[in-house]
Symmetry: C2
Subunit: 226 residues, 2 copies
DNA sequence: TAGATTGTTAATCGATTAACAATC
DNA sequence: TAGATTGTTAATCGATTAACAATC
């Protein structure tokens, strides 16, 4: 009783973002282990598979409503259940995408979102040529229709998939439509009022990070070539 | 003399990744300012536009071969030049994409990469139906051809854009082809030998982070609804 | 000159890693 | 029992923020 109360209070109170961002990888891995018929895994085994330290794994899992067992580790079925619960994999989050270019379409047609409880319920663009075309079950509509959709349906998350020049105006539209969580795939910082959350997806930033790591653009290396 | 020597040694020595990841946003912003005819910007102005603190901006720019001027700030033209140099925007990085599904195609057709010096020089898939089809100037080829391409051409960066089940085998192929920097867009950790760098692009993780922040899946809130 | 802004050092904050007693 | 593994506390590491003297 008291043990369960204390462990559930642990689970409730604010899990740090770095931990949250690792959980999806745990879930995918655990599902694979389950498929292979494995029933227990230690923090060391999980760490090796995911490129973490066992310390990090134990710290991460300590935020959750779950106990490992000495000498055996964590029970896969239980771990999967707890991860699904924390990640809300069984709860539907309604998502709209603004921008039906290549990226927007790729997202709309990407089945993995639906598997994780993200339901694409709108795809918008400003180009009339695209209106009515269907990608992954969703027909493209004019951006102006976003607001009326949001009046009928509570939209949880908005995805910005337009060129960077249009990103801010799309963010404004989303905020105006009452959307409080935005995933920004555009290559630009957007401003939103307090209370609205923005997370940036950084494909370009990641590429630049690799490019820098390759060192081709280091002044010192360029110099040593001459 | 001595000043320039010390500042260029600053520029050479390893800039931390968090800083590198912010630089592309600086660059985009600075280019916009230039287009607007603005010639100087203070750390405070830049910070406000990018959602940072002025302290962070000054710290970031201190890694670079550049000096601001009291009361005026940083000169836009100079700042742009230094950012382009550090990010290697004028150096061509050769990129291949494995996986010509929606995501791979979106990346191949995404002009922004070329603008930043990333040249897509190969698009591979294992589905024969796609062979020869062209997306953004690149024709899809069988994955087996990756190695022979890499023998003719030094490939700097490989993009994994396949379903997560295939991610590891694609990573192995890339490593075998001598690629030392991988951007993994698949929803799974991949193992590579030492000396090969992997950066994960985390669209799904970002979505999950937002979903968690929305709090719909919190045990405490679910409880309070009953 | 007075005031704004840089460059940099020091303080804070938070995440990761190490260590180890408890325990199965 | 002996040994492996957890859960958790403490130590380390690194990034961000604050502060302030130097300076234009």
């Amino acid at each position: 009783m008291s043990a369960s109360a204390s462990s559930s209070s642990r689970a409730n109170n604010q899990i740090p973002n770095p931990v949250i961002r690792r959980l999806p990888k745990y879930l995918v891995h655990v599902q694979e282990l389950r498929d292979e018929g494995i029933t227990w895994a230690s923090s060391h085994q999980i760490a090796d598979s995911l490129g973490l330290t066992s310390s990090t794994v134990r710290q991460d899992l300590s935020h959750m409503d779950l106990s490992g067992i000495s000498k055996k580790g964590y029970e896969i079925v239980q771990l999967e259940a707890v991860l699904r619960q924390i990640l809300g994999a069984d709860i539907v989050h309604r998502v709209v995408i603004v921008g039906a270019g290549h990226l927007g379409r790729a997202l709309a047609e990407h089945g993995a979102f639906a598997e994780r409880g993200f339901e694409i319920c709108g795809l918008f663009d400003r180009d009339p040529v695209l209106f009515g075309k269907t990608f992954g079950d969703v027909a493209v509509k004019p951006v102006e229709d976003l607001k009326s959709l949001s009046e009928k349906l509570t939209i949880d998350i908005g995805l910005i998939a337009v060129p960077f020049q249009a990103a801010q105006s799309v963010a404004d539209l989303m905020v105006d439509a009452g959307i409080r969580a935005i995933l920004n795939l555009a290559y630009k910082h957007v401003h939103v009022p307090k209370g609205v959350q923005v997370v940036d997806a950084r494909i370009m930033e990641s590429l630049q990070e690799l490019a820098y790591a390759l060192g081709k653009n280091r002044a010192d290396q360029l110099k040593s070539l001459t």
